[in-house]
Amino acid sequence: MSLHIKRGEVFALIGPNGAGKTTLFNNVTGLFQPTAGRVVFDGRDITGSKPHQVARLGIARTFQNIRLFDFMTCLDNVRVGRHVRMHATLWDSLFKLPRERREEEKTTEEAMDLLRFVGIAKHANQYARNLPYGQQRRLEIARALATDPKLLLLDEPAAGFTPQEKVELMQLVKKILTRGITVFLIEHDMKVVMGISERIVVLDHGEKIAEGSPDEVRKDSKVIEAYLGKSA
């Protein structure tokens, strides 16, 4: 099983439950240490890197079951995302030197911009846990974008969305692409996957069973059997 993602595309990984999609994300982001195989990013072998190192290199992700910092405001959630791009040292922080104050101000502005970008700026000062579900997903995307990723991993971003929210999500992903970010998503919703992906890989029991454009995958008999079921 081997995947290759091109810069600037929307790449989707689909497959039945338990196929190993999230496991793949965990291996790429360093939450799991792969037992075999290699992860290469931007020409660098990052296999076995720690999650915070992976984040620094420019890979960000969201979680299938949203994992925000529930007891922080939306603004603070995004500000935490800026952590990796901030330079203040412990001493700057302890003594509140001007450099760190400027950086904090800049971070707050950047965080507000991102909240506006995903469309939840008016909730900036609410606790993350008090947001409605759909907006929590948007906040999680804003937080991931705050790390300035080159590659954004979205784990089932449309799960539990209404049809209207799904349309808005697709628009958001297109906006993210215009920032020069490559998007790699796992998604169950076929309309979303077919609507925004340029290439799709189908995974079943840890094996790649198909790869290609949405149209090619849709017509693949193995995919129809393994994933979409005989009725599709």
Partner: protein
């Protein structure tokens, strides 16, 4: 069973609290001077408990470990500051410029030394157990506590150690306000503690590292993916906790002029009770819990008898765990 929307346990809790408040109020009315005097003692003790309680609560908040060695880090702060003060030509009779310089230099020095020691403890004793069952680091913490007490025992033996009395004291630095005896030392302890706790609050709420600590406490995986090195963040938590404990040990020495090798055992348990009382993992809770426990201990010493004080304090610990496991202000980090 419910009583007007309250469970029986809540009802009992309020009854006990109300009874305690009524009895105290009665004492305050019968002899207001004595009451205020006891309150002053209680606030000074409570300020020191708060400094130690903060270390317990911060470490618990971030890695859910009750760091039993923390009370001994506090005591060792007192031992080490006494040792460093020995290098200065301090004067215990009157307050000299040398005393002032010594205090100003030894405070930051002992805080940094204890912080370095605590980071070392975390590195060798707790970090290797990061993914072990929670009981393993807990028992290691108790072991670490014995190690520190053993070191202090070997250093100065079982007898109590004199801590130089170098704060301004004596007739010029004490006064009686309306029958209440107040010394410079009482004020010094409270002001220093408030200053340090305020710094901590600003730090936690306003800085990048403080944010990283809050994020790590709430979700370690998500924090890592934001580029936060959680090992460094946890080490920083131990560092800051020990800054406060080291300062606390020195303040204790300056106030009581007396230390002994296992002082941290009792003080640590009292501070831990304070942290639980305020809501373990909750930083303002630990500060408030420390002050309240200091006050309760002082009232108990005077109105019930000092031999009962430990019964009262640890009774509160049990009571809080039974009736209000989340403490007064609630746990900031909910159970996952």
């Amino acid at each position: 069973m419910a009583l007007g929307g309250m469970s029986l346990i809540d009802f009992l809790f309020y009854i006990i609290c109300a009874a305690a408040v009524v009895l105290l109020a009665a004492q305050a009315v019968i002899n207001p001077t004595a009451f205020v005097q006891i309150t002053v003692f209680g606030l000074a003790d409570g300020a020191m408990y708060a400094l130690v309680a903060l270390g317990y609560t911060m470490v618990y908040g971030i890695i859910e470990l009750i760091n039993f060695a923390h009370g001994d880090v506090f005591t060792m702060g007192g031992y080490i500051s006494a040792a460093i003060l020995g290098f200065f030509a301090i004067n215990e009779q009157t307050f000299t410029a040398v005393n002032l310089v010594a205090i100003l230099l030894v405070f930051p020095a002992v805080m940094l030394i204890m912080a370095a020691i605590n980071v070392g403890i975390e590195r060798i004793a707790y970090r290797p157990l990061r993914n072990a069952p929670r009981l393993a680091p807990l028992i290691t913490a108790i072991g670490m506590s014995f190690v520190l007490e053993g070191v202090m025992f070997l250093w100065h033996g079982p007898a109590s150690v004199h801590f130089p009395d170098i704060l301004p004291h004596g007739p010029g630095f004490q006064t009686t306000i309306g029958g209440v005896f107040v010394t410079f030392k009482d004020g010094f302890v409270m002001v220093t503690a408030v200053f340090l706790v305020t710094l901590l609050a600003i730090f936690i709420n306003r800085t990048k590292l403080g944010k990283a600590m809050r994020a790590t406490a709430q979700d370690k995986d998500a924090a890592q993916l934001m580029g936060i090195d959680i090992n460094r963040t946890i080490a920083a938590t131990f560092f800051i906790g020990a800054l406060l404990a080291g300062a606390g040990g020195m303040i204790w020495g300056l106030y009581f002029n007396n230390l002994f090798y296992n002082l941290g055992f009792r003080t640590g348990l009292v501070a831990f009770t304070s942290a639980v009382f305020g809501g373990i993992g909750n930083i303002p809770g630990a500060a408030i819990g420390g002050v309240l426990i200091g006050l309760i201990a002082a009232y108990s010493d005077s109105y019930i008898g000092s031999k009962w004080t430990e019964v009262v304090i640890f009774g509160i610990l049990i009571g809080v765990l039974v009736f209000r496991p989340t403490g007064l202000l609630g746990m900031r980090v909910p159970e996952k």
